[in-house]
Point group: C2
Chain length 414, copies 2
């Protein structure tokens, strides 16, 4: 008898029929003799509605207002947990619904993006030992001050992985509306293949680069606690993709997958005075304003007295970033500023890069053959990212997918 | 500096604009130097939606399932409490949102119709003394087992009155979509007048007889703890109706108001065997099935060996009641059963009845003059109720309103 954590995302519990359907996955594990902790998201659309209400009332600029926001938005998962408990009860499976505060799952006081500090396993363990299914409202916890906190959008993934770690679950099944992790977005690259396994590190890069299957923090947590996570679809019964330690990947591909993001915009400062402290002068004020800067390149001009600095920010923050850059406070002098929202970031990812040379060169050659210009390059141990003109995104993804030998050998028979 | 409890019903917080508007009533009390505890209902329609979800999943026949139901439906008030706290914060009024479990307000374990057992005043008092407005989610509490409980539909009134009692509030203002308690339904009787004051006992009779301004239990609670309740509209700034002790009513009318209900149906058992235990035989099984019986009359026939028994039940429970009566288990023998859903109950109410004779006679005479047949009569110390054909309801209400001198002297100038 093992303990399984099952997490159902918003589309898997979008209405009463789907909640009933999802409860069937739990019934199957119980019938197999396992104990189950179910974690649920809010019904699809509910959190957006609640966030919208809050935004209509307040800019949510203070910790106090974000505490009120948490009090509001945590209710979505509470509703689903009660409904899932009802669905299980109707299948004859005794169950108990748990809000974060009932466990209790304590977090820090960083409202709207709190971090889990401690999970008390006693009450749920007692419930499980009475033969009940524990149905936990994801995304939420309670602070030391007794206020409701939430873990940030997608936080139910983190709830599920954290519970799997705390209870030593054999497996953490993340039920979603895709049936696993693919070598590339199958909507763009028809020959994309579903991966049976992907390493935590690779998943982390994919998640942070825009493959929105799992919340980044949940992957970090799974990696740190070696939680065996499976991403699978709630709408069929096929196995999904397992997140595993790197050593479990028997045959390492050079490249495991290719991710992309359309969500960044480029800012270039032209002819910046070149003196020590220039970077700090530019990026300090942006960081102070809470604007995340992703890719950064700096080229010295021929004279050596001036430099061009290019970086990317989220498109949604472009206007604010530009305002800060132009305001000049603490900024180095520069002649001009260009921006471009029509860019896309493409990243090839693979732990195999550690032992294979030439991956980057192959990327640049492949893009050059298609006449795709590279605007910015950024690399890490297991990924290479380039910024290109958004118009070439499909062409680039397909060419790279083929170049790295990721294409499915034959079309699946349906 | 006084403590005021303000309660806003579902229509007063139906959308973000109304929540913002309602928060103005709180700001006014704060500006006047008072401390405020705000109690909120769910946004209009939300509870119905949540109840509907639960009904789709389960008949809610077990205590366990009703605990899940409570876990779901309590979320509606939680949302409004957070939103109201945000609205107050935007007015520069520091506030804290409180769910039932955060206070904590403990209840018994009768899920979906729990009763408040204890209110811990310490945490809210600390918050109030820090200058915060306490915004309490109505309708809910927490059981000794740590589960969320709810107080039954309309339970936010009870939350408000219970808090006013526990904190010794100077006043409990119940903001709703009507501007007070009237001598009769002004939609039917144009000359109905708003009452400045009404006694708890009278309000109790009106509430239980279908004047749905306040939850009955909240009035009982107000009466027991002498809470000064004001019913008023959140959409204008006029004073409403005060619930007061009987002694405060300086000039006692013979009749204070006339209430009605279209929600009952009549069942008559014809020629029931007349022996001891007949009533228990009929009403025991109905009570066991949780069916509330309201008016009861029993007439012995001429022979004395048989009797006709007439009683009323809620229209929604007529089919179930009839099934139990006909099933015969434990029932006395009877020849026939008639039912009638086309009936209405009219009640004249007034503490003045205690000292004035002839109120009932006047009622019967007034109805007789209009050729309205009385089917059943039932009386208590401060009310007389009659069951009549539903078709005559408007005629009867207007005639009685005039007969008891309740008509407004002149039309208000607008």
């Amino acid at each position: 008898m093992a303990l399984i954590v099952q997490k159902f995302g918003g589309t898997s519990v979008a209405d009463i029929d789907r909640i009933r359907h999802a409860s069937g996955h739990t019934a199957r594990e119980i019938a197999a003799g396992n104990k189950v902790i179910v974690v649920v998201s809010a019904m699809a659309g509910v959190t957006n509605q609640l966030v919208e209400y809050c935004n209509q009332l307040s800019p949510l600029a203070t910790v106090e207002s974000r505490a009120h926001y948490d009090h509001v938005v945590a209710s979505g998962e509470q509703v689903t947990s009660g409904l899932m408990a009802l669905a299980l009860a109707e299948r004859g499976l005794p169950s108990r619904a748990w809000c974060g505060w009932q466990i209790p799952m304590t977090t820090d006081s960083a409202h709207s993006k709190a971090r889990i500090e401690h999970i008390d396993v006693r009450a749920i363990n007692e419930s499980l030992s009475r033969g009940e299914v524990a149905v936990v409202a994801g995304f939420q916890g309670i602070t030391a001050e007794g206020k409701i906190s939430t873990l940030g959008r997608g936080g139910s993934d983190t709830t599920a992985v954290a519970l799997a770690a705390a209870f030593g679950a054999e497996r953490c099944d993340i039920y979603t509306d895709v049936d696993g992790v693919y070598t590339c977005d199958p909507r763009i690259v028809k020959k994309a293949r579903k991966l049976d396994k992907v390493s935590y590190e690779e998943m982390l890069e994919m998640a942070s680069l825009g493959s929105k299957v799992l919340q980044t923090r949940s992957v970090e947590l799974a990696m740190n606690y070696h939680v065996r996570v499976q991403v699978l679809s709630s709408f069929d019964d096929k196995p999904g993709t397992f997140l595993v330690d790197e050593e479990e990947l028997v045959e390492q591909q050079r490249v495991t997958g290719i991710a992309y993001s359309r969500e960044e915009a480029r800012i270039t400062l032209v002819n910046v005075e070149n003196r020590p402290g220039v970077s700090a002068g530019i990026f300090g004020p942006l960081a102070d304003a809470g604007i995340n800067v992703d890719m950064i390149v700096q080229n010295v001009t021929e004279s050596g007295t001036q430099t061009d600095v290019t970086f990317t920010v989220a498109k949604t923050e472009l206007a604010r970033a530009l305002q800060i850059v132009k305001s000049g406070e603490g900024m180095p002098r520069f002649e001009n500023v260009h921006t471009d929202s029509g860019v896309a970031k493409i990243s090839v990812i693979g732990v195999g890069m550690r032992s294979h040379a030439g991956i980057a060169a192959e990327m640049f050659r492949t893009l050059a053959e298609k006449n795709i210009n590279i605007i910015v390059i950024s690399t890490s141990e297991i990924k290479i990212s380039v910024l290109i003109d958004e118009a070439y995104i499909e062409l680039a993804l397909r060419a790279l997918h083929t170049a790295y030998g990721l294409d499915a050998v034959e079309e699946k028979m349906v």
